[in-house]
């Protein structure tokens, strides 16, 4: 009896100590968009960075909105996201050092193969207008799944609605949105949103990287793929150390250098070829794509 109590106590203390005394290894903490994580790009780059710089890379998979919030609070050292407008606000507000684009791909509107709204071949803003107008007439057949989560993709969707001539609240208050199906907010990551659109035979806006990564599970096909509005740039921003002295500014700088270095740019540019036959991202080494 006594020995058993002692043995149990020793085990208990060992467990507690093993957690409490877990060394806080020096780590670079980054918050990143779900599309970069779910395509597997971070899992691919993480060991390379860790080897080059001898530091752990802790990657948080969150949407662009939450990533920026973590950055503002100083809870991460860098953010790697895709929403140019909010990124520029973030830097202008003194939260970030500098916005450095390092890769891009394109958004596309995907949907059921029979294209019930007949939007194939239209520009994205015209396609959205037709979806809203025809969707109001026939919300059972014409369904659109929005991310609805403040992510970079959701921001892009709002921008396209704007270009189509609708303020976002008009879309939300439309009879299409009030119908049982119609315009639906998923409030989840890109992958799950694609799966949901697939279940419902709906349209959705996606980046082509995530779409390719999930294509095996989907019956959806790309419907609208061209249009200047569909550019999707990924940027890295180091969190401003003046505002949050506790952040690892030096290592965040190393990450910016790493992502824009020629070797890593090549790796990003060829990532996905083995698995999907085409690269998921195009590198752009710190410059605005197409400028």
């Amino acid at each position: 009896m006594k020995t058993r109590v002692i043995v149990l106590a020793v085990i208990a203390i060992a467990v507690i100590v093993s957690v409490i005394a877990t060394p806080r290894v020096p780590a670079l903490k980054i918050a990143t968009t779900s599309s970069l994580y779910d395509t597997g790009l971070w899992a691919h780059l993480e060991p390379l960075f860790e080897e080059q710089h001898g530091v752990k890379l802790h990657v948080f998979r969150v949407g662009t909105g939450i990533a920026l919030d973590h950055g503002k609070r100083g809870d991460v050292d860098a953010v790697v996201i895709h929403d140019r407008t909010r990124e520029e606000e973030f830097v202008a507000g003194g939260y970030g050092v500098e916005r450095v684009p390092f890769a891009y791909n394109y958004f596309m509107i995907v949907g059921p193969e029979d294209d019930p709204a007949g939007i194939a071949g239209l520009k994205p803003e015209d396609a959205f207008r037709k979806l809203l107008e025809d969707g109001a007439q026939d919300p059972d057949r014409i369904v659109f799944i929005s991310r609805g989560d403040d992510s970079g993709t959701h921001a892009k969707e709002k921008a396209i609605w704007q270009a189509a001539g609708f303020a976002y609240h008009e879309v939300q208050e439309s009879s299409w949105s009030k119908a049982r199906d119609g315009y639906v907010k998923a409030a989840r990551g890109m992958g799950p949103t694609l799966l949901m659109a697939n279940e419902k035979g709906a349209y959705t806006l996606t980046d082509n990287g995530t779409f390719l990564a999930y294509k095996g599970n989907l019956e959806l096909v790309p419907i609208v793929e061209t249009g200047a509005m569909l550019l999707n740039e990924y940027s890295v921003i180091a969190v401003n150390p003046d505002r949050h002295p506790g952040t690892n500014a030096e290592m965040a700088g190393n990450l910016v250098e790493f992502l824009t270095s020629p070797d890593i740019q090549d790796i990003i540019g060829s990532y996905g070829v083995d698995e999907y036959g085409v690269p998921l991202f195009s590198p752009c080494a710190g410059a605005e794509p197409g400028e």
């Binding site: 779910d38 802790h58 100083g74």
Partner: protein, 231 residues
């Protein structure tokens, strides 16, 4: 339906092959949830005994508050501890957000009320005469406490097990305070969540089955220990 069968098969495969990643995540889950539970028990058992024996103003209200906290949503606890530990928060100086230690703090906030409240309930089930006899025989306060804990040991163990179960199965704290970092703060529930997000429903189900299997093993071991204890 096919996903469920495939999930079951995948679970068996992962278990039989001792998949390195699953073993690592399971071990981390047990360590973190175990630490939170042990620390919460170290607080709850003496405190619960003390509250049980002492008569004071507001005792009923205190017990009501403790019981209300049984219903704390994990995401609220996660949010609360996140705001507390965030660099922009009051305890930001510590810099422990997104670490296993921070997860232990969050899980303790979550499960201490359960262990405390249920310990108090367990002790109130012990017959009064026993304590009166012990007192008349000259038992000291701490001897009385040990006696009552021992008398109510089945119910007390149930209280501890329930708290541990909640720590093992919660997601809100692990996500918000731990950050679900691969190889550092990812627990079983976080791995299940991620697999679901990525559309790998089989893996998600398999991990869920493994989590339940772990719980089964723990419950069998604890029951054995309890039964072997001499009267």
């Amino acid at each position: 339906m096919t996903e469920i069968w495939q999930g079951l098969i995948r679970a068996v495969q992962l278990l039989v092959s001792f998949d390195a990643e699953v073993v690592e995540i399971a071990a981390r889950t047990l360590r973190i949830a175990g630490t939170s539970s042990l620390l919460a028990a170290i607080i709850s058992l003496p405190l619960g005994t003390l509250i049980h024996f002492r008569q004071f103003r507001g005792k009923g209200a205190l017990i009501n508050i403790v019981q209300t906290l049984y219903f704390l949503p994990t995401v609220i606890v996660g949010l609360f501890v996140f705001v507390l530990l965030s660099r922009a928060g009051p305890l930001g100086e510590l810099g422990i957000l997104f670490t296993p230690q921070a997860m232990v703090v969050g899980q303790m906030v979550l499960i201490t009320p359960i262990m405390l409240g249920m310990t108090i309930s367990a002790l109130s089930g012990v017959r009064k005469e026993l304590l009166e006899t012990a007192t008349s025989l000259g038992a000291s306060g701490s001897q009385l406490g040990l006696l009552v804990l021992r008398e109510a040991r089945y119910a007390v163990l149930a209280a501890l097990l329930l708290g541990f179960g909640r720590a093992l199965s919660e997601l809100g704290v692990a996500m918000m305070v731990g950050g679900n970092i691969d190889g550092y703060t990812r627990m079983m529930t976080g791995a299940i969540w991620l697999a679901t997000q990525r559309g790998d429903l089989e893996l998600a189900l398999a991990l869920g089955i493994i989590l339940l299997f772990l719980a089964l093993v723990i419950s069998i071991v604890l029951n054995r220990l309890q039964q072997r204890r001499p009267q």
